[in-house]
Symmetry: C2
């Protein structure tokens, strides 16, 4: 049995490699929902959907997010009514959000139940769980250039403001009283290996760890926990990890990630380009494993997954 | 001042003629919402939207419903999740339903408030009101071929079942306790002329009359009420009026409409093709006015509107 903590696109690519090495029915993915947001009254779960679409082979690889062959007619039409249009929701993608919202509001389904419905509709064979059925929202306190502070939702900061406002603080509203979704703690307790996918440590993995019980479960299983470093050559492969790590005192390097994860993670897979950082990772109390981690092809993703599992075998 | 009771497409075409003859700001339209339905958890108001889109010059005239240049990508994508697809909701049209639902659920707006928002977004100059802010749903009791009875929502009967099941009874669930939307009774009381648009007498005009106070307001103003007959040459121009009128004992003819409306309507505009029915209309106690009523062009619609107003001038 295998469990994985996952953010969005980077995690999705890694998981697409993982299902080539392991029977998918033995994999339980715990996905971040701190980035979930309501747009136009619809419940959007960006990370869960990135995983689903990618594993279904339906993601738009050129664009790096969303669905292949997507169009944006409904969203454009919504601007007539003064609705915000800074978060791109495609016509095909909207079907997922409309369905999710109807199931939750109309049928009273939990996010976990709908996530399973959506995964089944896309014929995923692994188990995809939201970290919680409760509302947890990542909020980013920023410094404006005029010296004022502003609290932004994660998507506001990242998409609308292009991750430009300087970050002072990150909070996961609601995490303190949230309960892990059914099956999350059980999957972590029973897993032979727990993989922390190559996702943003602060706002993708951070919210999952903030759900009461999750971090403790990892601490208990520390020897079985392996992380794939999302930082290569001093920068994130994709996304704003550096804009969040540095101001929060986490060095944008394999050693920074190792120190951030050391309490609950025994092994860190780092990129060949960062081989020189292996000693610093080891000095942080984490065992480094060096391999190719830039997933430029499904083949490389599968090899990375294989290497990651072998590291704690 | 002018008030109009309106169903969907037929009414919309008439109103498009009316605004060519009268200052739109003097017109208050009371629209049927008995056909409103939730699809995919979104509040759809078919008649109000038909009026808005038509008056905005954005309706799909070839298709006879919906918006010009429409596509159906989101609805097609929803079938992946097992959602019903018998009611066509286009990508552009969906924006209206998403906006309406968010305003009502998220902001607590009334249907009347959202209807005004939508009308303003399409730059309508007349006042468009739903008959009520409360939930009124037209329910059609049908006889199945195996002898059983079944109660269908109006859209289920008309669209999904193509108006084929024989009609036994029509009810307007919720009408008994519904209140007219703010402004409805006032508009009827103050109007110099009240027009009953060429709409289905049973399921388009019927629900409006079933809202407490509306029928009485018309009875009081009977001399100022003029209807445009939706039946030409023994059949409705469009829609299933005949499938509803006959089983409910309303003759599918100008005289049948006249007898159905006589208590609150002094004048009925009938088509030239039905000139021979003028005497039967008169015998029902309603004054017939004969003109061209088949609105094959905006020009004919304007002439019909002019004639309708002149009939009670």
């Amino acid at each position: 049995m295998l469990a994985a903590l996952a953010g969005g696109v980077g995690a999705a690519r890694f998981l697409a490699g993982l299902v080539q090495c392991v029977d998918p029915s033995e994999i339980t993915v715990v996905g971040n929902t701190g980035d979930d947001e309501e747009f136009f009254g619809l419940h959007v779960s960006p990370d869960l959907d990135s995983i689903t679409y990618t594993l279904a082979g339906a993601s738009n690889t050129e664009q790096g997010w969303g669905l292949e062959g997507e169009s944006f007619r409904t969203m454009h039409a919504l601007t007539r009514y003064g609705e915000p249009n800074w978060f791109n929701l495609g016509d095909l993608d909207l079907a997922t959000h409309i369905f999710r919202t109807r199931r939750m509001r109309g049928d009273g389904a939990t996010l976990a139940e709908v996530t399973a419905d959506v995964a089944a509709a896309w014929k995923l064979d692994l188990h995809l769980l939201p970290m919680t059925n409760d509302s947890v929202r990542t909020r980013i306190t920023c410094a404006r250039s005029d010296g004022t502070r502003e609290v932004l939702a994660m998507q506001e900061w990242f998409v609308r403001e292009r991750a430009e406002p300087a970050v002072l603080q990150v909070d996961f509203d609601g995490a303190g009283t949230a309960r892990p979704a059914p099956g999350v703690l059980d999957a972590l307790d029973r897993a032979d290996t727990i993989v922390i996918c190559p996702s943003n440590p602060i706002i993708s993995i951070g919210p999952i760890l903030a759900i009461p019980g999750v971090r403790d479960a990892l601490v208990r299983r520390r020897d079985r926990v392996v992380a794939v470093c999302p930082i290569i050559d001093g920068a994130p492969v994709r996304g704003p990890a550096d804009r969040l790590m540095a101001p929060l005192g986490v060095e944008v390097s394999p050693a920074g990630v190792a120190r951030h994860y050391r309490e609950f993670c025994a092994t860190l897979v780092i990129d060949e380009r960062d081989a020189a950082h292996a000693e610093a990772v080891r000095a942080a109390g984490v065992r480094p494993v060096v391999t190719e981690t830039l997933m430029r092809s499904p083949q490389i993703a599968a090899e990375l997954a294989q290497c990651t599992l072998a590291a704690v075998a």
